[in-house]
């Protein structure tokens, strides 16, 4: 309860103010003679004195006594109006939100129109019209009848989001009736919200303050909330892997089988030295010992730990791993886009001969998109909803000093859209007018508008259906070849990876556990984790035997000692529990971080 109050400031402030008022009334009634609140002409308009601390008004009423006598009435009106208002509002909101349809339209319509009518004025009109004025009780009821409007609107939108939850669906399937679901499933879950609404109404009866702020919970502004959200995202326990049926050797570009990435093998090396660090002038992008951590009240969390790899020109490199394995954080870290509470606390990224950490903020900004471009995740919400596609491309060009004439700009945008298979009219559309696949293509068009050397595609197909996925990946592949850029494909879809990339890195709990040419990794994975990933892919030969990886991804905050994978590893030995394995050469061209490989 105390903790809840601490988190919910408006409620605790409300309670504190109410207690103060109650205290004022109690002490006031004990110490002040309320008889003085009656008019008495001989003491009219007196200044504050010991006898009348607040002075007296024109009719000779002692102002302090009047306040003591009047406060209970105000409180009564507030209470009755608040409880009645929120009560009526809650019931109507649940009915409207749960049953939807005509009922919803009707209730919401009344509330919407009612909200535009100023409450104070209606109160005045009613008070003027009723013979002899209003009693306190009548006044309370009138105020209540005006104050259900706002709670109805806000609670309804909460109910709307709740009713789609799994447990409500289950209750419905189990044959619970509507009222039962409302009382036993929805109400308990909304109680804290209702309490807060009530607390707020107590404080803010000025209707100008009650303006709707849009549906949904209030923005989580506190640092703690943000920490939690980040951690939540990092460690969402989501062991399921999206998989697509693939044959291991069914490669998209069989003619471009990659050679070994290391210039010379150094057998037996298991030192910390990053595998692709030295002597790799051919590499277009080098990542060396990159570390990213997120600050958290309970200690920093390392999301990316000592990751190194390099990218040759035109190479397609895959970064695979479960949710929370650090692969998306990697993508942002390469672009130096980690935001607080996250920070890059070690390692280096080189683009050709440019050391990215040495660049000024402005130089780094110019390098984004021009040198390294991001194709964002999902693309559902990656485009600004209020700008046309044309403007979003033009913004990117303009801020990279590409001030083109109107004609050149149009021509450039048309050719960009053409490259990703979109018609030129798309430039004048808003994002919400495009399908998921079209939005993803538009994102690719933006990403290639300055002909970058490296494209980082962060789960570019995660929200698309399988057919569109293939089309988008084909587009990405074609564009990459035209540009001669290298691609890092971040994702968890091993099937897609097997088809698209030349070389694959597998991440687990923030570390790279295996890197190898994709043909090798599919046919002869070295790390037990990779082996289990490959084994979990459905295949045409072994129909119907889907195999998952037992256990859950570890919490980054609380990693097991030694090899982070050992609790889930079927082959773990004693050494795995104490000594952390480093990446070393195993197999023909690969690297793996496992004592047993």
């Amino acid at each position: 309860m105390i903790r809840y109050l601490r988190r919910n400031q408006s409620l605790s402030i409300g309670i504190a103010l109410l207690s103060l008022l109650a205290l004022f009334v109690i002490i006031g009634n004990l110490t002040v003679d309320t008889e003085n609140a009656r008019p008495l002409s001989v003491r009219a308009l007196q200044p504050p004195s010991w006898e009348h601390p607040f002075g007296t008004d024109r009719q000779g009423r002692d102002l302090l006594a009047a306040m003591v006598a009047g406060t209970p009435l105000t409180l009564k009106i507030g209470f009755v109006a608040g409880f009645l208002g929120v009560g009526i509002g809650t019931v109507l909101a649940f009915i409207a939100g749960y049953y939807r349809g005509m009922t919803d339209t009707l209730i919401r319509g009344i509330a919407d129109i009612g909200l535009t009518v100023p409450g104070l004025l209606v109160l005045i009109i009613i008070a003027v019209s009723v013979r002899g004025g209003l009693t306190v009780d009548q006044m309370a009821i009138v105020v209540a009848s005006l104050s259900w409007l706002n709670p109805t609107r806000t609670i309804r939108s909460q109910v709307l989001t709740l009713r789609e939850r799994g447990y409500v669906e289950v209750a419905r399937l189990n044959g619970m009736t509507g009222p039962e679901i409302i009382l036993r499933e929805l109400m308990p879950n909304l109680l804290p919200y209702l309490a807060a609404t009530l607390g707020e109404r107590r404080l803010r009866r000025d209707p100008r303050l009650d303006r709707p702020r849009g549906p949904g919970p209030r923005p989580a502004g506190s640092a703690d909330a943000r920490h939690d959200a980040v951690l939540d995202q990092l460690q969402r326990r989501d062991p399921e892997w999206l998989v697509v049926v693939v044959g291991g050797a069914d490669r998209h570009h069989p003619d471009r089988v990659p050679g070994p990435v290391l210039p010379h093998r150094r057998p037996g090396r298991d030192r910390q030295s990053p595998p692709a660090a030295r002597g790799m002038n051919a590499a277009v992008l080098r990542v060396e010992g990159l570390r990213v951590s997120y600050d958290h009240p309970r200690g920093a969390v390392r999301a990316v730990d000592d990751v190194s790899f390099s990218l040759r020109p035109r190479e397609r490199f895959g970064l695979a791993g479960e949710s929370g394995s650090g692969k998306s954080t990697m993508a942002l870290a390469i672009l130096r886009l980690i935001r607080p509470p996250g920070r890059i606390d070690g390692g280096e990224v080189w683009l050709d001969d440019t050391k990215l950490s040495a660049l000024s903020d402005d130089a780094m900004r110019r390098l984004r998109l021009a040198g390294i471009a991001l194709v964002p995740q999902g693309s559902m919400n990656a485009l600004n909803p209020v700008l046309r596609i044309r403007a979003q491309i033009a913004d990117a060009l303009g801020d990279h000093d590409m001030a083109l004439s109107r004609r050149d700009l149009d021509a450039h945008i048309t050719s960009l859209l053409g490259q990703v298979g979109l018609a030129s009219e798309i430039a004048d559309r808003y994002p919400h007018e495009l399908s998921g696949g079209m939005k993803q293509r538009a994102c690719i068009a933006i990403a290639i508008c300055l002909r970058p050397k490296v494209i980082i595609a962060d789960e570019p197909t995660s929200a698309l259906d399988v057919v569109v996925q293939r089309q988008v990946m084909a587009t990405l592949g074609r564009v990459q070849q035209e540009l001669g850029a290298a691609v890092i494909l971040v994702g968890h879809d091993m099937g897609l990876m097997a088809q698209f990339v030349d070389r694959l890195g597998v991440m687990y709990a923030g570390r790279l556990v295996e890197i190898a040419p994709v043909g090798e990794i599919i046919t002869a994975p070295q790390h037990p984790y990779t082996q289990m990933l490959i084994a979990s892919l459905p295949s045409l030969e072994r129909k119907g035997t889907m195999q998952g990886i037992p256990g859950l991804a570890p919490l980054l905050r609380d990693l097991p000692p030694g090899c982070a994978f050992h609790p889930r590893c079927p082959r773990a030995v004693a050494r795995c529990q104490v000594e952390r394995p480093e990446l070393r050469h195993v197999g023909a061209h690969g690297l793996a971080a496992c004592h047993l490989a």
Partner: protein, 335 residues
Amino acid sequence: MQFAYIARRFGVFLLIVWLAASLNFLLPRLSGQDPVRTKLLQSAQLGGYVHAGLEDMVKEYDRRFGLDRPLWRQYLTYLTSTARLDFNYSIANYPRTVSEMIAEAVPWTIGLLGVTTLLSFGIGTFLGALLAWPGAPRWMRWLMPPLWALHAIPFFLLGLILMYLLALQVPLLPIFGGYTAGAIPSLSFGFVWDVFRHALLPGLSIVLVATGGWALGMRGMMVTTMGEDYVTFAEAKGLKSPTIFLRYCLRNAILPQTTALALALGQILSGAVLVEVIFGYPGIGALLFQAIRENDHFLIQGIVFTVIVALGLATLILDIFYPWLDPRISYRREA
């Protein structure tokens, strides 16, 4: 699409106006008062004797005012005169008409509250956006606590404090009225300056209080918006900081603020009562206060009707401009 949308919104506006008018018509009749009889009885008592033909007089007046006709006929008559903005004579200020008095007061209120509301919206929204922006200057963080504190003070209280400080202790500004008593309203520089000086105190008290509220709302919206995917992508696009701030964050975060602005603009006519009464400002709020004190039914009804229409008008204008601000809206099903 465009036309149907505007037509639908206009329909809602007409509905609100009609509801307001009907409310005005019905409430006094539901209350069971008989204004003519009450008034006549009052006059009779004032005259010192009860007139023998009182009942006949009541009947005659009822006939003259059309009160003896069936309710639906009265209603139709009422609606047509309302449509012509004819709200009858003021009872307390006969023979002045209600529409005349309202027309006189409205410019003052719109001038004072319209300007202050827009000003505090502009300042508050921009401040709020900057307060959420990591690239904003450091000294800005010191701005928020005083703004919050000011926002928590009711503006009439702040008005009284300012009045005490700036008009009584240090007599810099006039304390009362819309212009110096006796000045002849004209478009001369002297008069405009006089009006401006009179508007400063009430205006200041409103702006100081309201700015914090706008800033608070905007700051919250900005925090949410900055977490959106399109802002991350905008950064990855290598856009300049001002571009991201203005075109990607502020432009999206301002949408809910605009709704609130329309409501606030609609409510300035009713929200003005306290400020106008305290500062003796000749606007619609002060007029309403006076009408209530003098029990001037027709004037009260006229003002209430005007206020509701103003609100409806503000929402209508917002609805028409909103699709231009947020292109998603016109295609959404009736929001």
